[in-house]
């Protein structure tokens, strides 16, 4: 199947990466600069190749046949009297084909020169056992107070209603206070200071809460007529006594 020393190429279908690749190989057999190749001759070469392949009953992929059909059209268009109406003209088509071949050829050669360079790991070598470098970066974080409060404002605006985390606090509710004061008041005959109605040993916030609730409880019981309240002056001690 190898032709004589002519320009035909060995039929080796596996070797070609598509019709353009085959065309480039054929063009190179013309042994001229790609800028000077004869497109008409190239078309002949390609068609002859395809013809031979089919004579050998080799399966040709569809794209090779499409290219063959297109080249056959190009050939007739180049040979027949030119129809000026026709665009693009066959000369333009031929030029485009030649430009494509030039570009593929350029990249093929560039690739070959690239991989032939002195390559690291093949021709040149890095140090076999570098000690290695370490940069331990330590962040020194920076933020301004404005950033902080603006961030909080942003969150508050974004997520209202805000979930409030209320720490569990020891309080005396109003209901408890009313119950407690009405219970204790029965046993008191004299005026007794409001503090004496607070649970024994109550301290801190619980005591404050109990005092406030007891005061409100006293007002409520006074409204109901069950308790009397006495105070000498503003902020003076407050005394309670059961209503007569």
């Amino acid at each position: 199947m190898d032709a004589d020393a002519s320009d035909t190429l060995k039929i080796e279908l596996d070797g070609w990466e598509g019709p353009l690749d085959l065309l480039l190989a054929l063009a190179r057999t013309q042994k001229v600069d790609l800028r000077q190749i004869s497109i008409l001759q190239l078309v002949e070469q390609y068609l002859a190749f395809v013809h031979e392949a089919r004579a050998l009953r080799l399966e040709l992929a569809a794209d090779y046949l499409v290219m063959a059909a297109w080249l056959a059209y190009l050939k007739s268009a180049l040979l027949l009297p030119r129809n000026p109406e026709e665009t693009p003209s066959p000369e333009e088509l031929a030029l485009r084909l030649q430009l494509r071949l030039e570009r593929l050829n350029a990249m093929r050669e560039a690739g070959a020169r690239l991989v032939a360079r002195d390559r690291l790991g093949r021709d040149t070598f890095l140090r076999g056992v570098p000690e290695g470098l370490r940069v331990v970066r330590k962040g020194r974080y920076q933020a301004e107070i404005y950033d902080l409060i603006a961030a909080y404002g942003r969150i508050s605006a974004r997520t209202r209603p805000v979930m409030h985390v209320v720490a569990q606090r020891d309080v005396m509710t109003l209901e408890e206070a009313i119950e407690r004061v009405s219970e204790l008041i029965g046993a008191r005959i004299e005026w007794s200071s409001i503090e004496s109605f607070l649970p024994e040993g109550a301290t801190g916030t619980y005591r404050k809460s109990a005092l406030a609730s007891s005061f409100v409880a006293a007002l409520e019981l006074a409204r109901q007529g069950r308790v009397e309240i006495r105070q000498k002056s503003a902020f003076a001690p407050l005394y309670l006594k059961a209503s007569a």
Binding site: F125, L126, R127, G128, V129, E131, G132, L133, R134, V135, V136, R137, K138, G139, R140, Y141, Q142, A143, E144, I145, D147, L148, I149, A150, A151, Y152, G153, R154, I155, S156, A157, R158, T159, V162, M163, V165
Partner: protein
Amino acid sequence: MTPQDDLTRAVEAVLFASEHPLSVDEIRAHVGQEADVRDALARLGELYAGRGIELVRRGDRWHFQTAADLAHLLRRDREEARKLSRAGIETLAIIAYHEPVTRAEIEAIRGVQISKGTIDVLMEAGWVRPAGRREVPGRPLMYATTAGFLTHFGLASRRDLPGIDDLKAAGLLDPVDLAFEMAGEREEEAADQIETVTDDE
């Protein structure tokens, strides 16, 4: 270049590229059996004397290493100013306003999940500390701010933080473009995590 120089170059390259210290015989296997490797090693030793790289003999094997007095250059601690990410500053703000507060509570307030790395960054900065556990199921860790936090932000105490009303008056509660906010979030969370990873570099 003399043949001697050629041999010196060859021995230099072979030692440089080797993955372990080489004996004279091993070097010969590369540069030629007839070579006067000892002579080449002696020349190399002179060439590198006092330089950043030294030719060293260990037992009967030779190798290059960085000069011992320069070892400190190979590991460097570098302190760099870093801006806190948006996730970081928001988390810090929530801790400051609500402390002590658990991570779940921070997330509930922020409306966005926070990565572990975000709180780590705040602790690394010295502004946040663990502050006991909340006595609820799971006993989650609570966080609070530190004295370093007050110092950095120029606050005498946490009470100096402007309240919600102050923020409102300052226009800091004005509605913002929510879609934009949320889009930014996820990226920053991711960035926080990446930061944490690269810290190890």
